[in-house]
Amino acid sequence: MKIDHAINTVTEAEQDLADQLERVAGRHGAEHDVYHLGHKQAVKAAARARSLTDFAQKYGADAPRQSDPDPGVMDTLRRQTSELLGRAQAPGLILLRDLQETYLQAQRAEIAWVVLQQGAKACRDLELVEAVTSAHEECETTAKWLRTRLKVAAPQVLAVG
């Protein structure tokens, strides 16, 4: 049984997603919805990783990080600069790049949950199946939010001369 591998993949993907969301939220402090929702989604992604703590132990996988997402030391600085630079031109391209990267990371986490879910089903671990199902759905929502936000942001950045 190699469920531990699948758990590790999910945990890593969600933790990375959490950190990335936190960084992106901070970097785009002047985009107030990205800031607030990005931060909230980061906390949720970290919590999703943590929700596997007992299963990680059961299957001998690595223990998920118990702390909140880590934006890195530069975060406060980044947030302040972002608000100050609210007037600067062309933050848009950076926003697009950041949202796209984060979307891909959310997709990585999403498919990791799918893989784990398949394993859990085949091992008939119904408790794990249930835990994975609701986390997977929430992860999908994070991706959909990023997709929605990107679809709104892209035209203004790309089409304005």
């Binding site: 002047a30 985009e31 107030h32 919805d33 607030h36 929702l37 909230k40 989604q41 609210g86 007037r87 600067a88 031109q89 933050p91 848009g92 929502t141 994070t142 959909k144 939010w145 997709r147 929605t148 679809k151 709104v152 035209p155 203004q156 950045v157 089409a159 304005v160 001369g161």
Partner: protein
């Protein structure tokens, strides 16, 4: 002038039982010394709140001299509140704008219409050339007429081709609109104001009816004084008059609506108050909802909301036992934390109890501004015209055909841009042209120092249509003087879908023009054309515009096709949908319990309530609602800003009965201005005590964004909650330098509020900010 309606806001009682026979009571107000026999009367309705009370405008010698309620009008049966009785005098105000103004060397100076419009057109062309259509933004109102909005909507979406068009309805009823779309598949109040006459229970969530909709409150008072009065369940952190009349009052901690409403649903489910048959046949989503609300026991909810668990159960008991329930929400939901999620929970309660589509049973996601409903119907805000779905290519194609433009011309790649996003684009520099009509963002948007600084930038060209100098006109590059209600012909629709005709009773002052005419002039100068090279706006008069609009609503939820000026003239108000087969309109929607949720018909595929992630077509198909209403689950999430050591109190704002919005009209009405000349700050006795503040002391309230000052009123608010009315800006402040900003005496509540909005409706969270207070002087 006898200011009777100021002293006696709701007027004489005319009690009645639950039989739907609300008596008429005609209120009339004439200027002193006017001979009533000389007055000619012109049909209209009041434009000072969304109730839209039917009235006649009195005229002598071409001058407005008074108003009189229309006895047979279905909305008010003759009654008028204080704003309706006196507010029309703003039209007579000596400081009306009567000529265009153009900024020259930093100063706004009089100009001719030609000069002003040529400047607007030159700047439009310049921005279109350099930046393209997405460099242009338009921000309109909830106080114009249907014809003004529709003209603007076609001009912007079909002509200029930018998605950046929103209304100040975003601050007022965006959440109403979105909550109705999420739960029932389209905008449009399901019920009728007559349901208040027939119900046995009223559930008011964050809706201070006595102050916001005075004539509706008079209607309810008549029930409370009559036989078989309804019971009231009221959710409001303040001890308002409606709270005092309640069977159960829940003064919850601001920002916790979803937790409370989940708690109530928990109790409805646990105690068997769910109408199983209705829910089974006419809704989807019960299983998930049950799973979510199961966690919200009254004990847990009590700790989140700060109200006793027993009161939560008692509220559920009253709602559960009701046979005819009317629920209503307003800004305490819409401008608070988790706005759309909370409003949808009230819809859920309606559905769980099966209280919709029959007499005395409905939910009102109430409106605030008089014509907000039309902004939504005409697509002059975040909606698509005729309640179409921007994500549905068939709907866009239909519109393109009706307008005779290429489908690609109509921006439908993303939802229409909300105002906070537009201001962000103006802040970062990609939007350089902003045309504001009949609204005052320099007082009404959050975080005012930011808004003022965005509007003051040289690189953003700001055009403002208004009837008065306002804080916003002071920051504009071009100001265009607008005709007011009574000075132009048109129609508008209230919060129970009642359409009224409003006659032109007098000429506008000076060179002021109707917004409709200003837009037509602009479109002609810009040479906006359809795909055959004909003028895109092919109407010249309000009536022709109305007829064009009728066509685009045919077959949609807001079907106006059976209406005309002839039908409306002399009518007591007609509720849409009104078709040629059914020209007298429709009192209640969903009487067959079939909702607007078929994928091909629905106005919106819906959103995730927590993030605002859009559902795409395939997601909506997968839900399989197919005419059933949606029960929508939402977990409680704390607000974006929480009190802390530095700012330990929660600030919330609201209205007072005598004023409307930023006082541009009511501040120019002697009786109303006299009744409420000054702002104030409400504190609970405990908070006042803790800071050594006594009644009348000047108090400073400070948030992370700004500060206001006003005298203290000590009253029965819940501890930890600070309230101030949001009306008081600077146009008439002696401390202000130019009438745009505070000088050394900040009073506008939005100095304090945060730049944050609901993820679904994008309505700013104006009712929540962490603040500290201090005594400035006795």
């Amino acid at each position: 002038m006898e200011a009777e309606r100021v002293r006696d806001v709701w007027g004489r009682r005319t009690p009645h039982g639950a039989d739907g026979s609300w008596p008429s009571r005609v209120d009339q107000q004439l200027l002193d010394g006017v001979d009533a026999a000389m007055v000619t009367w012109h049909q209209s309705a009041c434009v000072l709140c969304s109730n839209g009370c039917g009235l006649d405008i009195g005229v002598v010698d071409g001058r407005m001299v008074g108003v009189r309620g229309r006895a047979d009008d279905r909305v008010n049966r003759g009654r008028l509140g204080p704003k309706g009785s006196y507010g029309w005098q703003a039209n007579l105000s000596p400081d009306r704008l009567t000529t265009p103004l153009v900024r020259r060397e930093g100063q706004l100076q009089p100009a001719t219409w030609d000069e002003a419009m040529e400047l607007v057109v030159a700047r439009s062309r310049d921005v279109l050339n350099r930046r393209g259509p997405l460099g242009m933004g338009f921000y309109t109102s909830g106080q114009l007429f249907l014809e003004d909005y529709y003209t603007l909507g076609v001009l912007v979406r079909g002509g200029i081709g930018t998605p950046h068009l929103d209304g100040n309805t975003r601050l007022c009823t965006a959440t109403s609109d979105f909550a109705l779309k999420e739960s029932f598949g389209s905008d449009g109040a399901p019920g009728s104001l007559t349901d208040f006459d027939l119900c046995d229970t009223i559930f008011a969530v964050g809706h201070n009816i006595p102050e916001t909709h005075t004539v509706l409150w008079a209607r309810i008072l008549d029930r409370l004084d009559g036989g078989d009065p309804p019971r009231l369940v009221v959710v409001d952190p303040r001890s308002t008059r409606i709270a005092q009349a309640a069977t159960v009052h829940l003064p919850i901690r601001p920002g916790t609506n979803v937790a409370l409403l989940n708690g109530i649903q928990h109790e409805l489910v646990a105690r068997g108050f769910v109408d199983e048959t209705f829910v089974q046949e006419h809704t989807i989503g019960l299983e998930r909802l049950q799973k979510t609300v199961a966690e919200y026991s009254p004990d847990l909810v009590s700790t989140i909301c700060g109200v006793p668990a027993a009161d939560i159960s008692a509220a559920a008991e009253v709602l559960g036992q009701s046979q005819r329930l009317v629920s209503t929400c307003l800004q305490g939901v819409y401008q608070s934390n988790q706005a759309t999620a909370a409003a949808c929970q009230v819809n859920n309660i309606t559905l769980l109890r099966g209280m919709i589509g029959r007499p005395g049973c409905t939910v009102f996601q109430m409106n605030g501004q008089p014509t907000a409903q039309n902004t939504r119907e005409t697509g002059a805000d975040g909606d698509f015209v005729g309640m179409r779905n921007w994500q549905n290519p068939d709907h866009v194609a239909e519109l393109a055909q009706l307008w005779n433009v290429e489908q690609s011309q109509i921006p439908s790649w993303a939802p229409p841009t909300h105002v906070m996003q537009m201001f962000r684009y103006a802040e970062e520099g990609s939007l350089e042209f902003l045309w504001i009509t009949a609204t005052n963002p320099a007082v009404s948007l959050p975080e005012l120092h930011r808004i003022r600084s965005i509007l003051s930038q040289d690189r953003v060209f700001v055009v403002v249509n208004d009837a008065f100098p306002t804080e916003t006109t002071q920051l504009a590059d071009v100001v265009l003087p607008a005709a007011l209600w009574g000075e132009k012909l048109g129609t508008f629709t209230n919060h129970d879908r009642t359409v009224h005709l409003s006659e032109k009773a007098v000429e506008p002052p000076g060179e002021a023009r109707a917004d409709l005419d200003i837009f037509l002039d602009y479109a002609a100068r810009m040479e906006l054309q359809d795909k055959d090279g004909k003028p895109l706006l092919h109407w010249r008069t309000p009536q022709e515009c109305f007829d064009a609009f009728k066509e685009v609503t045919r077959g949609r939820p807001c079907d106006y096709s059976g209406l005309s000026y002839e039908v409306l003239r002399g009518s007591p108000g007609i509720q849409w949908p009104a078709t040629p087969e059914n020209p007298s309109g429709t009192e209640r929607l969903y009487t067959d319990h079939h909702f607007h949720t078929e994928t091909d018909y629905t106005e919106d595929y819906g959103h995730d309530l927590a993030t605002g992630a859009s559902r795409e077509r395939k997601d909506h198909v997968a839900l399989g609602a197919d005419g059933r209403a949606m029960l929508l689950a939402a977990a409680y999430e704390p607000a974006n800003e929480q009190p802390d050591e530095e700012r330990p109190l929660l600030f919330t704002s609201g209205r007072t009965v005598h004023h409307f919005h930023t006082r541009t009209k009511t501040g120019r009405t002697p009786e109303l201005e006299m009744a409420a000349p000054e702002p104030w700050v409400e504190l609970s006795p405990a908070d006042a005590d803790a800071h050594g503040i006594e009644e009348g002391d000047l108090v400073s309230v400070e948030s992370a964004r700004g500060r206001i000052e006003a005298p203290a009123r000590i009253c029965g608010n819940r501890e930890g909650v600070v309230f101030a009315p949001f009306h008081y800006g600077y146009w008439d402040s002696s401390a202000s330098l130019d009438g745009s900003g505070p000088g050394d005496r900040p009073t506008a509540a939005n100095e304090l509020t945060m730049t944050s909005w609901d993820p679904v409706s994008k309505q700013p969270t104006l009712k929540l900010a962490a603040v500290s207070i201090a005594k400035v002087s006795p």
